[in-house]
Symmetry: D2
Subunit: 377 residues, 4 copies
C-alpha cells in the first residue's frame, strides 16, 4: 500500500475492504511521506519491520527482488490524486498489479498513458469507484441491460455533501486542504471528487455513454480555489438526456448520492445512504422494493453480497466487492482459469479515463460561452 498512514482516511477503508474476505493480506507499505508516520503506521498494522518502506520507489524495488510467493502480489495506491500516476506506472513495469483510489490520475494524459502501460504489461488494474460495488446497483445494471425499462430516456444523478460548507481547508482539515487545492486535486473540486462518482454510476447502470454536455460550476464558499458545487446537463449516445449535480456545500447532507433512471416502461431509484433498497417503478403497476440478498435478485447481485436479505450490507462490503472481484480475477489469471465476467466485474482503466475526461469536459464547457460541447477524450 502506498499512502494510507495514520493521518489519512481512505487507506483504512481500503484495508478493511481488502481484509474482509480472507483473500488478501497486507504485507508491506509505504504508508506516508512522513517518515515517523510511515513507521508508526506500519507497526500498528503489524507489518514486519523490513517491509515498512519510506517511499514507494523503495518498496517496489525491494519487493520485486523478493522470491515469488513472498513478495507482494499487487500495489494499492491511496495517495492524493497528484501522486497516483508515479507508483502505478512503476508498479506495472515491475510486474505488480495495481489498485488505485479514484480519480485514476491527476490529468487525463496520465490516464491515457497508464492505459497503454496496462495494455503493454498485461497486468490488472482496479479503480475503486466504490458505489458500483453495491449488489443492488449491479442488479439495477442488469435490469437495464435486460431491457426491463425499455429504452432509457432520462437520467438524474446527484451527489450532495455538506462538509465543505465552511472554509474548512483553512481551519486545519487535512482532507479539505488537499481536495480543494488545484495542485494536489486537479482541475475540478466537487465535480472531480464526487461528480465523477455520479458520472461513473450513471454510465455503469445504464451502459450508456455521455456524448455532449453543458455545465455550470460554482465556487460558493468565498476564498475557495476550486468549484464546490455544480450542475451538468448531459446527452447520451442513445439520445437520452440527463442532469448531474454535485455539491459539497449542501449543508446538512452526509453523503447523499442518488440516481433516478427512466425508460419507456418504468424507472429506477437508488439512494446510497440506504444502499440495500432499489425502487423499481412501473407505468401501470405498483412500485417494487427490490432488496439486496433476496432470492429473486439477479446472479450478479447474489455473487456480490455476503448475507441473506434483511442483514444490511454497507459501504465497506461494496468496497470489498471491488477487492474481492479483483482478487478472484487475479487468482484466476494466476491459475490460468477463466472467470465469469458477468458476475465478477470491477472498474478499471477505461472508467478511469472517462472519469478524467468528464472533469476535462465539464471544466472546459463551464469556461466557455457555448451551451453545449462535445464530450471529447
Amino acid at each position: 500500500m502506498v499512502g494510507g498512514g495514520k493521518d489519512a482516511f481512505i487507506g483504512a477503508i481500503h484495508r478493511i475492504a481488502a481484509n474482509s474476505d480472507g483473500l488478501i493480506e497486507l504485507v508491506c507499505g509505504a504508508l506516508s511521506i512522513n517518515k515517523d508516520i510511515a513507521i508508526d503506521s506500519g507497526q500498528s498494522l503489524f507489518l514486519p519491520q523490513q517491509r515498512i518502506y519510506l517511499t514507494y520507489e523503495e518498496m517496489i524495488e525491494k519487493e520485486s527482488k523478493l522470491p515469488e510467493g513472498e513478495r507482494m502480489d499487487f500495489l494499492t495506491i491511496v495517495t492524493p490524486n497528484f501522486a497516483h500516476y508515479g507508483p502505478a506506472v512503476m508498479a506495472l513495469e515491475n510486474g505488480f498489479h495495481v489498485v488505485i483510489e479514484k480519480p485514476i490520475t491527476f490529468t487525463i494524459d496520465e490516464a491515457k498513458q497508464l492505459k497503454k502501460k496496462v495494455e503493454e504489461t498485461g497486468k490488472i488494474l482496479a479503480l475503486t469507484h466504490t458505489y458500483t460495488g453495491y449488489p443492488i446497483v449491479k442488479h439495477a445494471k442488469e435490469l437495464v441491460k435486460q431491457g426491463a425499462l425499455g429504452k432509457i430516456r432520462k437520467i438524474y444523478v446527484s451527489y450532495h455533501q455538506g462538509w465543505l460548507s465552511k472554509l474548512s481547508e483553512r481551519e486545519g482539515n487535512a482532507q479539505a486542504a488537499w481536495r480543494t487545492d488545484p495542485k494536489r486535486s486537479g482541475k475540478a473540486g466537487a465535480m472531480g471528487d464526487i461528480g465523477t462518482h455520479a458520472f461513473n454510476l450513471a454510465e455503469y447502470i445504464t451502459g450508456l455513454q455521455v456524448t455532449e454536455l453543458s455545465a455550470a460550476l460554482n465556487i460558493v464558499v468565498e476564498g475557495r480555489a476550486l468549484d464546490d458545487d455544480g450542475g451538468v446537463f448531459l446527452k447520451f449516445n442513445n439520445g437520452a438526456t440527463g442532469v448531474l449535480t454535485a455539491s459539497q456545500i449542501a449543508a446538512g447532507e452526509e453523503n447523499n448520492l442518488f440516481i433516478n433512471i427512466y425508460g419507456e416502461n418504468g424507472g429506477l431509484e437508488w439512494h446510497q445512504q440506504e444502499p440495500n433498497t432499489l425502487l423499481v417503478k412501473w407505468l401501470d403497476k405498483p412500485t417494487e422494493i427490490v432488496r439486496t440478498g433476496m432470492g429473486y435478485v439477479s446472479p450478479i447481485a447474489k455473487h456480490n453480497s455476503r448475507t441473506p436479505g434483511g442483514h444490511p450490507e454497507g459501504y465497506l462490503e461494496a468496497f470489498g466487492n471491488i477487492y474481492r472481484n479483483f482478487a478472484l480475477t487475479l487468482s484466476a489469471k494466476l491459475n490460468g482459469e477463466t472467470i465469469d465476467s458477468t458476475l465478477i466485474d470491477f472498474p478499471s482503466v477505461d472508467e478511469g479515463i472517462r472519469g478524467m475526461a468528464f472533469i476535462e469536459n465539464v471544466v472546459k464547457n463551464h469556461q466557455s460561452n457555448e451551451k453545449w460541447t462535445k464530450f471529447e477524450i
Copy 2:
C-alpha cells in the same frame, strides 16, 4: 365557475377545496362550452336552473344584474389556459373578484394587462398555485425568512411525473390533448404545466427571485408538439444558484414535486407526496423532522392547518387554504377590516406574471445558443 364540467379534472378539485370550510358556496356556473355538459353538470351540482349558464359572458352579464347579496361574489376560472384571460377581465370589469387556475393566462402580455385591470378595479385575484398552500411549506418559508439557515446558497427543485410517457394525446386522453397542444396550452408543455409550480415554490419559500437562467428542453415522446421534459439552471438575486427539473415522461412517477434548499447553516427538504413532513438539516446536529399540526410550528403553519399533528392533511386542504385565505381576505375587505397578511396569504397576479415570464424566458434561452440569459419580464 367557468369550466369544470363533468369531463374536466381540476374543476371538481376547486369545488371541494372551496366547500370545505363552509365559507364559500357554488351559486352558478358556465361549466362547459358544450351545452349538454353544461346543463347536466349544473344539475348534478344542484345549481338552480336559471343560474346554469351556457357562456361566461351570459353568466357575468346576468349575475351582475342580480341584487347584491344574491349575485355571485367572485368567479372561479378553471378552463384551459387559452381561455383564462377573457372571463377574468370581464369579471373584474363587472365588479367580481376572481380565482384563476394557474397558469394565469395564455401569454405574458395578457398577464400584464390583467394586472393593470386588477389595479384599476381594486378587485382581488387569487391564483391557485396549490403547493404553496401546504402548511409545512409556509413553515419552511418562515424558517428561511427568520434566517435559520443563514444566507441561502443552493436550491434544487424538481417536479417529475410519468403520465405522458406515451403519446396519450393521440389516444383519447383529453387532459393530455389540451396540455400538449400549443394552441390551448401555450409556448411550453411540461415546463409550463408543472415547471411553473416548481419555480413558484422555489421563489415562495426562499423569498428570492430568479435573475438569470440556462435551459434545456426536450421532446422525448416522438410526435409530441411541446416539451415533455427539461432542466433549467438558475441564478437568484442574492447570488444563490439553483437547478430546476420538470418531466412528464419520468415513467412510474406520480406527482413527485420536491425541493431542497441549502443555506450556510443547514438545509430543508420537502416532498409533496408526503406533504406533512419537512426535513430540517443542520451542519452540526441531527436532522429534524418537522411535522404539520405540531405545537412547535410557526403561526402561519398553524393558521393554515385544520387538524392536530398526526392527522395527515393533503392536497385538498392545501388547495382549500388558498380559497380560505382568499375568502377571509374578501370578507375582511367587504367588512372594512384588515387581515394579518403574515398568516393569510395566497398567490396573486404578481406570481402569475412571474410564472408566465418563466415560461417565456426558458423557451427563449432553450432556443438560443447562449448559455445564460437574463430573466426578463
Copy 3:
C-alpha cells in the same frame, strides 16, 4: 349537530368532512351545554338565529315540526361519550337519521338498545371510525377478501400517541380531562379512546372477528384514573392470532396507528400517518408500494378517493368518505334507489357494539387472573 362548540375539537372536523362534497349542509345545532358558547358558535357558523338551539331535546323537538325539505335530515352527535345515547335515541324516534362520533355509547347495554332502536325505526346510523374511511385501507380489505394473501395468520395493530405523557387532565387540557374521566369516557381510557380504533381497523380489513383475548392494561402516569397504555393478545375466528397495543404515553408519537397483517402468501403494512401508501409484501417477490389514486387500485378505493395519484389525501378526506357514503346511502333510500354496497360502506351500529364489547372484554380480562377469556357480547 349536538356538541361541537367553539371549545371542542372533533366537531369542526365533522363539519369540514361533511361539507367537502357539497352533499351536506349544516342547518342547525345545539352546539354546547354552555348557552353563550352555543349561541356564539352557532353565529360564527352562519346558522340562522332560530335554529341555534340550547339543548338537543329542544332541537329535535322543534326541527321535527318544520316542514319536510326544510327540517334537518339527520343529526350528528359529537359530545363526550356519556352523552351519545340520549340524543341518538331521541333522534331516531323522531324520524331523524344519526351520525355518531365513536365510541357509539357509554356502555355496551346502551349500544345494544340503540341497535334495537335502529332496527325498529329503519333509520340509518353512521359511526365515525374514521380510519376505515381511507381509500387504501379499503383496498387492503379488498385484497384480503380476494384471497391475495391466502389464509390470514397474524395481525399486529398498534395505536400509539404521546399526548397524555403528563398529567394533562390536571393542567387545564379539556380534551384530556374528559377522556381520562371514567364518568364521561367509560370503563377504559386509552383502550377505549384509541384501542377501539385499532380493533375496528383489524376486524375491518381482515373481515375476521376476535373470539378470545388476553389483556394487560397500565396506568403509567401517576394520578390518572383510567388506563393510558395497554396490550391485548387476540385470537380470531379463523384461528389467526393478533397483538394489539394502544398507548397515550408513547412520548413523541403523534397519532401513530399502524397495522401489519400476514397471510400464507404475503403481508400488508399500513401507517395512518402516511395514509396513501400500502405495502404489500410477498414471500418470493419484491414488496409492492400500492398508492391511493393509481389506476390499478380496486373500485372501492377509487370510489373513495377524490384526486389522482400523487395528490395526497388525508384524514379529512377519510372522514369525508364516511359522510359521503352515508349521504349517498341516505339519498338513495330517500329516492328509493339501491346503492352498490361493495363501493359505498361506512361503520354502523354493529361496529359500535363490537367496539363497546372490546372495551368490556379487555377490562374484564385485565382484572382477572385468567390468561385467556372469551370475547362475549
Copy 4:
C-alpha cells in the same frame, strides 16, 4: 473455529466479521462433523493441512500442545445450539478464550455451568448477540443511560421474519431443519432463535431487566414441532412494561427487528434493516434523525464505527464490533493493560444466561394458565 463448514450459514459471517479489522486470523478449524466437508472447507479457507481437524476435541487437544504464539488464541463455536456447551467447556479448560454464537447453550443449566467455568478459568467469553454491535444501538443505550428520555416507561420490541411461512424443514432447508427441531434447537423455536435477540436488545439499550412476563406462543404452520410465532408482555425492574413479539411466519418480512422505547420526555425508534438511523422523539420538539458516523454521536458510537457519516455500515460491521472489542479486550489482557469498558463492550456469559432464562420462562408461562409469572433464573 468449530462448525461453519461449507454447508453452514453463520460460520462465514463470523469469519468475515473477525477478519475485517486485521486483528484476528483464522488458523485452524474443525469445520464440520462430515469429514469431507471439514477437509474441503478447511482447504478452501487456506488452512494448513495439519490444522484442519475432524473434531473439536482433536483440535483443542492438538492446538494446546502447540507453542504459545503459534497455537490458536481463542475458539469460535458456530455449531447448532445443542453442540455449544461441549467445545466451550473444553476450550476454557484448556486455556482458550471462547466466542459462541447465540444462544449460548442448549439449556439454562449448561449456561450456568459455563459461567462457573468462565469464572474459574478467568478466560474471556464473547456471545454474538450481533444487533447490540451496531454503533447507533450503542448510542441509544448511552442516551438512556444519561437520562435524556427520563424514566423509561414502555418498550416495544419485535423481530419478524417470513422465511418459515412454509414447512421448509421438510423441504430440504437445512437451516430450517435444525432450527425447528427441539433436539438441536432447544425448548423454543422462533422465541429462542430470534425472540432472544429482541429480549437482549431491549435489556441492553435500557439497562433494565425483565422481572415478570406473560407469554402466548403459536405453532402456525401445521406439522411444525416448535413455536414459529409468539408474543410476550413484559414487566421490568423499574416498573416499565413492554411488549415483545417474534415471528417467523410474517410472510414477506426479511429480518425485521425493531424497537421503540419511551420515557417521560421522549422516545427512541430503531429498525435493524436501516441500522444507521435512530429516531429520537421528543414531547415538545421535532423528532431527530440521529445517524451513525456523525460528529455529534457519543464516544461509544464513534469507537464502534469505521466510516464517516453517510457511508452506511451494516450487519457485518456490527458483527465485527463484537470481534473487535473481544480482540481488543483479549489483547489488553495479554498485555496487562486496562481497556475503557465504556467504549469497548460485548455480550458475554451473563447475557447468555438471561437469554436462556428468557426461553425457559416464556415456555413455562405459555404452558401455564397463569397470566403473569416471575422471571426466574
